[in-house]
């Protein structure tokens, strides 16, 4: 019965589009549902809030997307993010509070070092996986422990505070400030307008959103438009075929894990800009697992060969909207886990029913 249902759906063009993009249609469905059931859900500010709070999860899912397409997994990204955040925080703190350096210079150096550092866990996992055939689960689990330990050591188990205010000014600022009938300005209130008037202004496009869009565009481009992306899909589809057609699969996998780690490092930088402090990743945050869930909900398979950046973003937003909407509608928060679990099962069932769709 299932297969005949699957067949008839595959024949219908409209239904194909729906089945292929079910996560997107679910997202639309929940947006409409919560707009009716949840007070205050349907507002530009709430939507911007959802995206702002999802920035880290979206970056995590993007990192995981590359890895999962090659049929791997990266468990270390959550703690690499924390390592990047506390490293940047510590360096900025030392430079800035020494009194010899400007906030801008301190931030620049802190970020640069943290980003370079974030390459290392990925290089190590990548070499273990590609050259020594260590299963990705184990190799990145090793980095999961090591990066967490180092982050806790650097921060002594406390968030790294006393950082310049400019961090959150940028991180929580908006690209456009607009007062109906009263003009607008970019990246801050107009000259001479005090912060007490901020409520008069409509704030559009959080800066985090803008920077996220830039990062996502680059990653999307890399995956969908370049040889590198094509080889990533080929390796996930048939690693043997990739090797035999001359693709340097070992080198490619090392780059993939390094890229994943680097994107997690970027997430750490977003984190320090949004919170104004260097945060280690709390043990129970499970960023990596929510990222895997979002990627799979977006239509990827742990067997590799399929998935995409935009699809993973839809996966993250579906989870985020569900959480936000349930909260606003007054549903107890633990239902979040049940909701994510149900979505995952649905994703896998749909994937099983229509293997040729994707």
């Amino acid at each position: 019965m299932n297969s005949s249902l699957a067949l008839s759906i595959e024949r219908s063009k409209t239904l194909r589009v729906v089945a292929k993009n079910w996560a997107f249609f679910f997202l639309l469905f929940f947006l409409i549902l919560f707009s009716i059931t949840g007070r205050g859900f349907l507002s530009v500010m709430n939507f911007q809030n959802i995206v702002h709070l999802s920035v880290i999860a979206i970056l995590m899912a993007s990192a995981e997307t590359f890895v999962i397409i090659t049929s791997g997994i990266d468990l270390s990204i959550g703690f690499v993010m924390g390592l990047s955040s506390v490293t940047a925080g510590k360096i900025i703190q030392i430079l800035y509070n020494s009194g010899n350096h400007s906030a801008g210079f301190s931030i620049f150096i802190g970020i640069s070092i943290a980003l370079v550092l974030s390459l290392i866990p990925g290089i190590i996992s990548g070499i273990m996986i590609a050259k020594y055939k260590v299963p990705p689960f184990i190799a990145t689990l090793g980095m999961w422990g090591i990066t967490n330990g180092i982050a806790l050591k650097i921060s002594n188990g406390f968030p790294v505070a006393e950082l310049p205010d400019s961090l959150t000014k940028i991180g929580n600022g908006y690209t456009l400030y607009y007062k109906p009938g009263g003009g607008f300005s970019f990246f801050g209130l107009p000259e001479g307008v005090g912060n007490e008037h901020i409520r008069d202004y409509i704030r559009l496009i959080p800066n985090s959103f803008l920077f996220l869009a830039i990062v996502l565009f680059i990653l999307y481009f890399l995956l969908k438009k370049t040889k590198f992306g094509q080889h990533t899909y080929a390796i996930g589809g048939n690693e043997d075929a990739a090797i035999r057609s001359g693709i340097n699969v070992k080198k490619h996998l090392i780059i993939i894990y390094t890229l994943s780690s680097f994107i997690a490092g970027i997430a750490g930088i977003f984190n320090i800009f949004q919170t104004g402090i260097g945060n280690f990743t709390p043990f129970g945050a499970m960023y990596e697992l929510f990222a895997v869930a979002a990627v799979v909900i977006g239509g990827a398979s742990l067997m590799g060969g399929k998935g995409g950046i935009l699809a993973s973003v839809v996966g993250v937003l579906l989870i985020a909207v569900l959480e936000n909407g349930l909260l606003i509608s007054g549903v107890e928060p633990f239902y979040r886990f049940i909701a994510v679990g149900l979505l995952l099962i649905l994703a896998i069932v749909i994937d099983e029913l229509f293997p040729d769709l994707f």
């Binding site: 040889k227 899909y233 080929a234 589809g237 035999r244 001359g246 040729d356």
Partner: protein
Amino acid sequence: MGYLIETRNITKRFGGLVAVDNVSLGVNAGEVVAVLGDNGAGKSTLIKMISGVYPSDEGKIFFNGQEADINSPMDALAIGIETIYQDLALAENLNVYSNIFLGREKTKKFMGFVPVLDHDYMHEEASKVLKKLDINIPSLRNNVRTLSGGQRQAVAISRSIYWNAKVLIMDEPTAALGVAQQKQVLDLVNTLKDHGIAVILISHQMHDVFEVADRIVVMRRGEKVGDLVKAETSTEEVVNLIVGSEMVK
């Protein structure tokens, strides 16, 4: 006249197992050599050394009389040795033209400096080569997963032809095909021969072998036990060599 492709005393071991034992084999341009042998005789392993998948433990490979240093599939491809494997080695999650160009994708410049995939070019070139070989596939943008076994075989062959194979190695090309498609592949082999390509063909199908091969090489337990001109041998002689009831020099 020297061989176009030649192995001299080539050996491959897997742990204690000698999969290919001291085998010398040469193929001329425009010649089809069939390699026959029972399951596990070492046929696939032999051709994988020529195509760079496995390094040989002993022995040498010569291309056009020169010793060829083949350490990877890329080395083999670079000198014009193309291989169609038993498992075809297609990425089923990619479309037809992407498979034809796999690993050698054509790019164009985006905004003057960023190399991006040139889908139009690859699509165009792929349809040309399929047309030349009289192969019919509904849409080259369909994933290979949706194609029939014969169509997949055709994609694999077109890929090699497109990349100007000088030596084409085929491992059981007709094994999974219906009668009409088998005939098409065999016709294709004859076409390749006319173009001066050296073909090494592994097959269990005696009928195929006698239809297209010029020479027949028989392997048993890793060793080469026969090298026969087709016109001078018989099915019976070949079968006896395969099962080992007779030894012919």
